[in-house]
């Protein structure tokens, strides 16, 4: 009885799924498939922190920090990073203090309690460029610039994506506009081949070589700045990444050793339980 019911229920589910399939197949055969906008996959760039042995290139991170400070920070915050964290980029204590002091953060006047702006200390976090989301939207054609602390983890292939996005601004090609008339940039939008709907609200942030002057003498081409700021934002997204990879190796070596030992002891213990077959 129970099996008869089961067979009927099974045939029921199967039939409904297959009816859905039939109508789906009919629709697929008779209707135009959805056309995706032809955005490009990010460029694959080599970084010092790639791979299981990767380490930070601190000079690069310092260059990237400078790009963030002088370009990105006009619109984007970095709310999960504190100035004290900059010590990890190779700055000494005095440099971290000086760097923190070069930023204005919201504070409270000690005597009156009024909201004021004061220079930062190492324990402060990077300030947001806007007092609130409404102000951010109002200043940016209703598109709120995202906080960049986690941006490279919040996108597929994030480091390459950020670097590519910086250099992806073009005029839309004639073929694209013919195929996808909806891809033409609307007012206040810019064509970017790496952005998923090809129209981004952010104006090209890196406009010319030498926009930032690097302290180590590296020539500040647009590609170089894009690459360095993407490296810096990879660090902000996961400052513990290199420590994580470096911790991993001893753990894996220990486990490999322990597993070999476990295998040998298993073999030895089982040797007693598996007597050789007696030959007839």
């Amino acid at each position: 009885m129970i099996r008869l019911i089961a067979i009927l229920v099974g045939l029921g589910f199967g039939a409904v799924a297959l009816i859905s399939f039939g109508f789906g197949a009919y629709t697929a055969a008779t209707e135009e498939p959805v056309k995706h906008l032809p955005y490009e996959d990010p460029i694959d760039i080599d970084y010092s922190f790639d791979g299981p042995f990767g380490t930070w290139d601190k000079v690069q991170l310092q260059r990237g920090y400078k790009v963030y400070k002088e370009v990105c920070s006009a619109c984007h915050g970095l709310k999960f990073v504190a100035f004290r964290n900059l010590a990890e980029l190779g700055y000494d204590e005095a440099q971290v203090k000086a760097e923190a002091a070069s930023w204005q953060v919201p504070g409270i006047a000690p005597n009156t309690g009024e909201a004021v702006s004061r220079s930062g200390t190492p324990t402060d976090y990077f300030p947001s460029p806007y007092p609130n989301a409404v102000a951010a939207a109002a200043a940016n054609n209703n598109a709120i610039p995202p906080d960049l602390s986690l941006i490279t983890k919040a996108r597929h292939d994030g480091t390459n994506y950020v670097a590519s996005l910086m250099v992806g601004y073009r005029e839309p090609s004639a073929e694209l506009l013919e195929e996808h008339p909806e891809a033409a940039p609307g007012p206040g939008l810019y064509h970017n081949v790496y952005f998923h709907n090809l129209n981004i609200s952010m104006a090209p942030p890196l406009t010319g070589d030498g926009q930032v002057t690097f302290d180590d003498g590296t020539k500040a081409t647009i590609e170089q700045m894009a690459k360095d700021v993407a490296a810096f934002l990879t660090w902000t997204a996961e400052p513990t990444m290199v420590k994580r990879k470096q911790t991993g190796w001893p753990v894996l070596f220990f486990l490999l050793f322990a597993t070999i030992l476990a295998y040998l002891s298993k073999k030895q213990i089982w040797a007693a339980a598996k007597p050789k077959k007696i030959k007839a």
């Binding site: 589910f13 199967g14 409904v16 799924a17 513990t240 190796w249 486990l255 298993k266 598996k274 007597p275």
Partner: protein, 430 residues
């Protein structure tokens, strides 16, 4: 219950004699997972996954308790405190990555454990209760994992919670009140986050309780084995300790190598980047996906696209829940007297070339966008999934002619029972 030749616990010194009299906990452990539990001698490595699932449950509880010390279940703070754990808490990143990947590995070992049970028909008499409790554990684990994924309060957390609780809205009349009751509001917010945290903390201990029942029920008939032939004599078994503790120890080492390779080198590979964007009720992600371990059921949910008597969404919801609930019926659907798939030629073909590819495809399809050809493929495989358990399995068990079984486990392992090393109290089999 145990076999008559099971070794008896003998307290070795005064302290253990004291305990054995007042609270025989050492005796319980000895009889449960020690030398006092005789286990078939022919278990293969597929029998490792029960112990491994237990290990990952403990790992999840330990890392989870540490994370809860630093996390704030508040919609304003949840995302920030998760990042606080990653950045400022000593070894917090390790705890969180171990917990997130630990959930994935928990599901990997549970799925393998279930598939072992399906292939060797471990659900058949006299082990129905073990199987039923196992399905309960699986359902509880799914609920726990779902609520855990909501806690970081990223975009996928929020929208996942919205979609999954929205499933209850598919039921006519009662659906919407149930959804509002579950969430404590019209959309996931502080009320939902708080209760999910509370339940996410509670359910693992409920799971641990059901696991104890699962093991208790296992110890009544004893473990099954790859031949599916019941234990006949002492030579069919070895004591759990040291034989299977050693074998499980090796298996644990192997899986931990994979686990820590993921934790240290690819910690986010199984997650979704959108969950590193803070929850925003005003911005819907392009593609809302659950965690990978729910993909087969998500594929089944989305396979029903036709309003056929009932609305398509309701079909999807009923099918998704049924796809697991039908497992409760398995012991009574598969009437073949032979347990092991090794001796069931027709069953084995449907299992290896039907169910396994179907599950693999449903895993793949659940993570794809709802477009063609993915939807059509998931409809075909969904149909097969139900037909396999509800139609093919009962019919195959009726018409199949099983291959000859070995006389006993010893017979299967050593070629002949007469050549077996026999215990003192056992007569050799004829």
């Amino acid at each position: 219950m145990s076999f008559p030749w099971a070794k008896e616990y003998t307290p070795a010194n005064g302290l253990s004699r004291f305990f054995d009299e007042k609270l025989p906990l050492p005796r319980l452990v000895y009889n449960a997972i020690g030398a006092g539990y005789p286990v078939p001698r022919n278990l293969n490595y597929m029998w490792n996954f029960g112990v491994l699932a237990g290990f990952f449950l403990v790992l999840q509880i330990v890392t989870g308790i540490v994370l809860a010390m630093h996390y704030a279940a508040n919609a304003e703070l949840a995302f920030a405190t998760t990042e606080h754990i990653m950045r400022n808490v000593n070894w917090g990143w390790l705890m969180r990555y171990a917990h997130a990947n630990g959930a994935s590995f928990f599901f990997i070992v549970i799925y393998l454990h279930i598939f072992r049970g399906l292939f060797y028909s471990s659900y058949k008499a006299p082990r129905e209760m073990i199987w039923l409790l196992g399905v309960v554990i699986f359902l509880l684990t799914m609920a726990t994992a779902f609520m855990g994924y909501v806690l970081p309060w990223g975009q996928m957390s929020f929208w996942g919670a919205k979609v999954i609780t929205g499933l209850f809205g598919a039921f006519p009349l009662v659906g919407e009140p149930i959804q509002i009751w579950l969430l404590g509001g019209y959309a996931p917010d502080n009320a939902a986050l708080n209760r999910f945290f509370s339940l996410h903390f509670l359910l693992p201990f409920v799971i641990a309780g059901v696991v104890i029942l699962h093991i208790w029920a296992l110890h009544i008939p004893g473990s099954s084995n790859p031949t599916g032939v019941e234990v006949k004599s002492e030579s069919d078994t070895v004591p759990f300790h040291p034989y299977y503790t050693a074998k499980d120890g090796f298996g644990l080492g192997v899986i931990l190598i994979f686990f820590f390779a993921m934790v240290f080198f690819l910690p986010n590979a199984l997650g979704h980047p959108d969950n590193y964007i803070e929850a925003n009720p005003l911005s819907t992600p392009a593609l809302i996906l659950p965690e990978w371990y729910f993909y087969p059921f998500y594929a089944i949910l989305r396979a029903f696209t036709m309003d056929f008597i009932l609305p398509a969404k309701l079909w999807g919801v009923i099918a998704m829940f049924s796809s697991i609930l039908i497992w409760f019926m398995l012991p009574w659907l598969d009437k073949s007297p032979v347990r092991s798939g090794h001796y069931r030629p027709l069953f084995r073909k449907f299992f290896l070339f039907g169910l396994i590819p179907t599950m693999a495809m449903l895993f793949f399809l659940g993570g794809r966008p709802a477009e063609e050809p993915y939807v059509m493929l998931s409809q075909i495989f969904t149909a097969y999934y139900f037909l396999h358990f509800l139609v093919i399995l009962p019919i195959v068990s009726q018409i199949e002619r099983p291959e000859p079984l070995p006389y006993s486990i010893t017979d299967a392992v050593l070629g002949s029972d007469k050549k077996a090393v026999l215990g003192e109290n056992t007569e050799p089999a004829v």
